[in-house]
Amino acid sequence: MEQRLANTWQMTVNEKKFIETALLSDLRVDGRRPFDYRRLIIKFGREDGLSEVQLGHTHVMGFVTSQLVQPYRDRPNEGTLAIFTEFSPMADPSFEAGRPGESAVELGRIIDRGLRESRAIDTESLCVVAGKFVWAIRIDLHILDNGGNLVDAANIAALAALSTFRRPECSLGGKDAQEVIVHPPETREPLPLIIHHLPIAVTFAFLGKDNIVVVDPTHYEEAVMGGRMTATVNMNGDVCAIQKAGGVGVMHSVIMQCLRIASVKAADMTTKIKNAVSTSLYAYSPQVESYKTERSQRMIKRHTSTAAVDVSEPSHKEINVLLRHHLERSTIRSGELIASSSNAMEIETQLSEQDEKQRDGGARTFIGGPSNWDPLSKGVDSDALKVSLASRGAVRANTKLEESKIENLDVFEQSHPLADVNPVPPLHEVAAIDLQTKGERTLKDAVKPKHKRKKKPSSKTDAS
């Protein structure tokens, strides 16, 4: 429609010149340095598999759903993964509703290649009955606000949603075990997907005559750039995909430099995503609070009613993987993850400094609430507790299995030295007795005394 052309936003020559001139002195319009990412906020919804990512002004939502389907004929024992990207007209007045445009298709393909072809998601574990029933995972990415660099934001949204997605457990039953019974979440705990690694997309834009490289372009920079390149790299340094579709030609030394920068950024981003995911699953945050307690209550009820249940192998392994992950990641953020951008060069040192700052920051934001968390200990506590509950008495490094609550304390005790700075044994005993006398409580209440106890070494003034 011609009238749409009248509404398209044009970049003025002044703006273009300003952006390019500022870059010559290593300055970008929003004050960042050329290799800095914008502020990243990852939020999760109440249900599994819903994520909302904000990268600066770019806003993307990801939903993951699953369905039992027939597999492809040439891959009878693998599940399928499909990515649907919607460039909503909400994001940009130039996006049209209806058929996806070129950039929408390109975005979908980049994310698809990063996830599927690099085998980030284990599709063989999605098989239920070979040749008949497999799980088809569908990822819907809704672009809500186009502030530039949609690829990176959408990729993070997809990864975050996949990490928190849980598919229903199903078993074979009926006569000659050919019928598939899908268990609703009330009867059997849904299972997470097996994710081998997180492929992070890092987008570079080439601006100006000299092809100055910037990371994470805003939509103003995208309007004036000469070319762009997206490198999908994972934390191990593997290059999963590179996309450079046309645009200005750059020297191969520049490409190599970009790949090096990308691997550094990927490490940083992976840490942020993993922290956000683990925090959302176990954190005290108004949006996930009641869902978490409800979920935990369901789990507690189930465990006290079933005496000795056979733990199916895959879920047990997954839970162990989760536990290991969480023990490695002993730093925890608050329910909403706010990460500042970091320098490409000093990323490692800065990251540890930021951890310290944000840990305190996280604790500070919760002052005055019903329970003041020490994020450090909380992460280990909740993870250990959840794992011990979920594994139904078959916890990896655990010996005493009398009661689920005592069990929690034991696992906590074991992982305790890993995380805490000043372990205080006498207070631990008090907490143990306290816990037992309280009787039937929710998971949150079970965790509370430990957190209040934890605060004493870090000199907070809350009285338990």
Partner: protein, 248 residues
């Protein structure tokens, strides 16, 4: 008679409301509206030059795009678009910007019952955020018939599926919430007793429908109050969330 609904509410109790405006950067106006678990995102772009064919060029045109959470756009989405369009057309001042198109995009984040009323409320808040001239605001409510023949408000998805019939009702916002106290003189029937939109599903007797209308009208006053408060709370630079627990 107190009745036990699944989530412990009484018959006339709404779920907790939350409204945020100005969340998006590119859109001219944006709002999120959540009623309990149902959450809808709305964005407004406009007015833009040009109109679709067969539209009256002497008036502004409203275009609604409904984006479901997952899946393709089908007939139900088209129906929602049409209902939203006609509802919003009746509250906008269409003669202020003739021969222009204002687009309203609605994105469903979560559907836990009463989706269309939630979307209408979100769209109205987004229009206010964009500064589109309006005659008055619209407040939408869902009333459904429980098994005992009484009316319950704001059902969740389970209740909506089990009910025999329900009605989505949209009222203009109550003037009492806007006018200063003391100036309110009701000589003729107040404007807020009119109905902008009514969509019903299922079969219900006429008396029950009239009862739904009555209930809806009573609640619309509360909703208008909440809407007014959430609009007032926001300074141009911030976008805080207004949360409201209603008990009527």
């Amino acid at each position: 008679m107190e009745v036990d609904r699944a989530d412990g509410r009484t018959r006339n109790q709404l779920r907790s409301l939350a409204c945020t405006r100005g969340t998006l950067n590119r859109a001219h106006g944006s709002a999120t509206w959540s009623q309990g678990e149902t959450k809808v995102f709305a964005a407004v772009f406009g007015p833009k030059a040009g109109m679709k064919k067969n539209e009256n060029p002497e008036k502004a045109c409203i275009e609604v795009i409904w984006k479901p959470k997952t899946g393709q756009i089908g007939k139900p989405e088209k129906e929602y678009e049409m209902i939203l369009k006609t509802t919003l057309q009746s509250i906008c001042l269409l003669t202020v910007n003739p021969n222009t198109t204002t687009s309203i995009i609605v994105q469903v984040v979560n559907d836990d019952g009463a989706l269309l009323p939630c979307a209408i409320n979100a769209a109205c808040a987004a229009l206010v955020d964009a500064g589109i001239p309006l005659k008055h605001l619209a407040v939408a409510i869902c009333c459904c018939l429980a098994d005992g023949g009484y009316v319950i408000l704001d059902p969740c998805k389970l209740e909506e599926q089990r009910t025999k019939a329900f009605a989505y009702l949209v009222f203009p916002n109550s003037l009492a919430s806007v006018r200063r106290k003391g100036l309110l003189q009701v000589e003729v029937e107040p404007v807020e007793h009119g109905i902008i939109t009514s969509v019903t599903r299922g079969v219900m007797p006429v008396e029950d429908y009239l009862r739904c209308l009555e209930r809806g009208r009573a609640v619309s006053a509360k909703l208008s109050e909440f809407l007014r408060r959430s609009m007032q709370l926001q300074a141009p630079s911030e976008s805080p969330t207004a949360v409201f627990e209603t008990h009527s």
